[in-house]
Symmetry: C2
Subunit: 501 residues, 2 copies
Amino acid sequence: MIPSSPFIPFIFFLFSLLTAAVVQSKQPFFPSAIYHSSLKKESSRSPSKPKPILPYKTRYFPQELDHFTFQPQSYKIFYQKYLINDTHWHRGAPIFVYTGNEGNIEWFAENTGFLLDIAPKFKALLVFIEHRFYGDSLPFGKDSYKSANTLGYLNSQQALADYAVLIRSLKKNLSSDSSPVVVFGGSYGGMLAYWFRLKYPHVAIGALASSAPILQFDNITPWTSFNDAITDDFKDASLNCYEVIKGTWQELDILSSKKEGLAEVSRIFRTCEKLQYIDSAANWLSEAFIYTAMVNYPTKANFMKPLPAYPVEEMCKIIDTFPPGTSKLNRAFAAASLYYNYSNTHKCFDLEHGSDEHGLNGWEWQACSEMVMPMTSSSQSMFPQYSFSYDEFSDHCKSFYGVRPRPHWITTEFGGNNIEQVLKRYGSNIIFSNGLQDPWSRGSVLKNISDTIIALVTKKGAHHADFRGADKDDPKWLIDQRRQEVDIIQKWLDEYYRDYA
Amino acid sequence: MIPSSPFIPFIFFLFSLLTAAVVQSKQPFFPSAIYHSSLKKESSRSPSKPKPILPYKTRYFPQELDHFTFQPQSYKIFYQKYLINDTHWHRGAPIFVYTGNEGNIEWFAENTGFLLDIAPKFKALLVFIEHRFYGDSLPFGKDSYKSANTLGYLNSQQALADYAVLIRSLKKNLSSDSSPVVVFGGSYGGMLAYWFRLKYPHVAIGALASSAPILQFDNITPWTSFNDAITDDFKDASLNCYEVIKGTWQELDILSSKKEGLAEVSRIFRTCEKLQYIDSAANWLSEAFIYTAMVNYPTKANFMKPLPAYPVEEMCKIIDTFPPGTSKLNRAFAAASLYYNYSNTHKCFDLEHGSDEHGLNGWEWQACSEMVMPMTSSSQSMFPQYSFSYDEFSDHCKSFYGVRPRPHWITTEFGGNNIEQVLKRYGSNIIFSNGLQDPWSRGSVLKNISDTIIALVTKKGAHHADFRGADKDDPKWLIDQRRQEVDIIQKWLDEYYRDYA
């Protein structure tokens, strides 16, 4: 039942909880595909988290539906949410804009304490803009996700244009045309921040793109890199840990051929209801390992889930300290439980039904239209081996949404090939920050390109670790990375004020 | 009848024969507006010009309708025409792309001999791409101009994306991914070339934007500049000439209040049929002066019409050499006849019916959607005074097309304000070439911005004079300007080959 190839779920993974594999759970595409929606299910059973009180005012901007056509329907207005904090700002002082990604903007604001931390120094206005089709910024209300006719307007270029229009209007309304704008974003939001600086240099004087895998398209980055990076994270924690996880899939495979296999796996995984598919267990495990590698932060955190510091190491400790003879599956389950149940609120797990507490489910569409990031898993990976086929992927998207992806569009529109040569003589004021523990880092820019296009890389950092608020337990390398960011941004601003003096 | 204000026709003028005023001839917007389609009528009566044999092969590329949405209809294919000449090219050698503007691509190829002249030196492949909705590149065939539902896809961003997609595909098909691409364009095509370098630096290593009034939007360039420049051209030729033309409008005004005024004007203007509106005569004159200023080339040429070298001076000679006592109207008519009838083929003139021999009539739509370039005429202008109102313009476009313009969109999407500060630290490899005789030059970049963003300005040049093929009578300043362009492009290419070595 666990196919050696093609094993599809991971290929759709992005920064969020949602994957095209979730789509498949509604409409299976490969008969043998395992379903990958467990994490969301846990969320639905979690006691709903109290909403943190964010120091932002919520505003809505009347935005036009389609910036790139002039048909009567292009002018339809929807209300785009943005958050604003002007505690330290005065007219003419900088405006720091977070280019929202695939979820409720509050969630990103909550996890980008860095901007609140640095606002006083820069006297910066902070603005977090929600991405169209996420959170409350739904152009067609509850019908927004109805079909390609509505979802067709959900893409990165329209989002970037939204940001440009909103920022221009905001500056005008604040009578602060001369305020320099710096854009910030993490993950897909970091891609948007970089692309915004690339396409709208007249609006933003610089961009800090944290953990932005802008090179994860076409053949620029090896398709195995994402899973290889996770594998390396676990191997670095413990070779035994890697071997246990790698062996788990075969144990599941053997169980799947047994009559009582489903019951046995349900028991091991303490499922609330008996599983329908053994694949669900594989998926649930994989998801835990993937996301834990992404959020392998050096301090306790609660981005995806509440987790201790360096959770990959903690998982591996769990695996490594079991008494000899314990099955790999039992160990892997215990490790994954760290991810799903660190706060110990679950008595049982629901692996086969999801929720979407961060409002992320537009990503399925984006992954099936322009955000095509091919991924595969090699025989060295800790995950089962799988391959990727553009044709099969395209057929899947077509059958689900009625339209095919444009898998080479992102590199046509935004580039990526030969980025060093292209940006060496073009552009300026961009920081690509990455932590090498983050599996997405391998699809980002890890070397300085010019004096003003800088890569800030840490060996230990995880997915946009630098954007988290300062913590008393932060290690020196993280404090240093943030300080470098602040220094570089200060330089951009100094230059700006000199140029415009 | 000639209103002192608002006098609308000129505000819509662009590079082409077509203006929104032509729209008005179908659906008048200001009761007093004069109609501005005479030039086209002449064309219809001209013996059809023999088509020059161009050294290009004609190809068609299957292009998608809408690059910025993913609806089922976005994927509709239309066939985009392009011309190609590979006489001197070999794999890996440069590709020079002309980013087509608002007309048949053959017309631009015919008037861009510069590229044929320099192709041997660079061993360059020459590619002229037709702009969507012009010439044969009609996404909806003969229904392309039916309404905003079809025309909505006609805009600069879609055109730029067309070019990116086509160039990428072409390079792939030629197995020449490593060929550097330089984009060239004149007038609106020059704006597109600059914008292409701005937005697609990964596709084009540099741009030569000739006579590209990228700053003719919003309040960046004074709204009177276009008419002031024409006025200066005529004043520089002869102060008397300027005064005669400036006085013409009053003479027409007086005639318009007379019972036999229309007959009198028809007689003076040798119209084939009696005029319906005296305004048509004012419009016919204005058009001649405007276009003659634009094409005030130092050699005989036939871009808009066949004309002698320095036709503005020739016009003024005609005006100045009339015997004393000749009416201003008679003199102005004689001067304008140089423009309409230099080849002496017309026995009479038709001022009130048009044709469109260059397939330019999509510009009306573009001017009424995104290409809003406000223009006014001051009391010092040689033209009648007129003003501009965004609201009135918007109402006009709405009543004609059913949609309103987005008059500030171009500066949001492409910038323009503070261009020196923005480009000083961003971008590279752009030449803005201009001749100060060209009324559009005042809306372009006339000073170097950085070491690699260069303004090449000539005192005498007219509308993209540098793009014309070399002529034995070319003056030194024009030869020099072209040589500088060649040297700079050579530098870009040398750097490129070094960077990618």
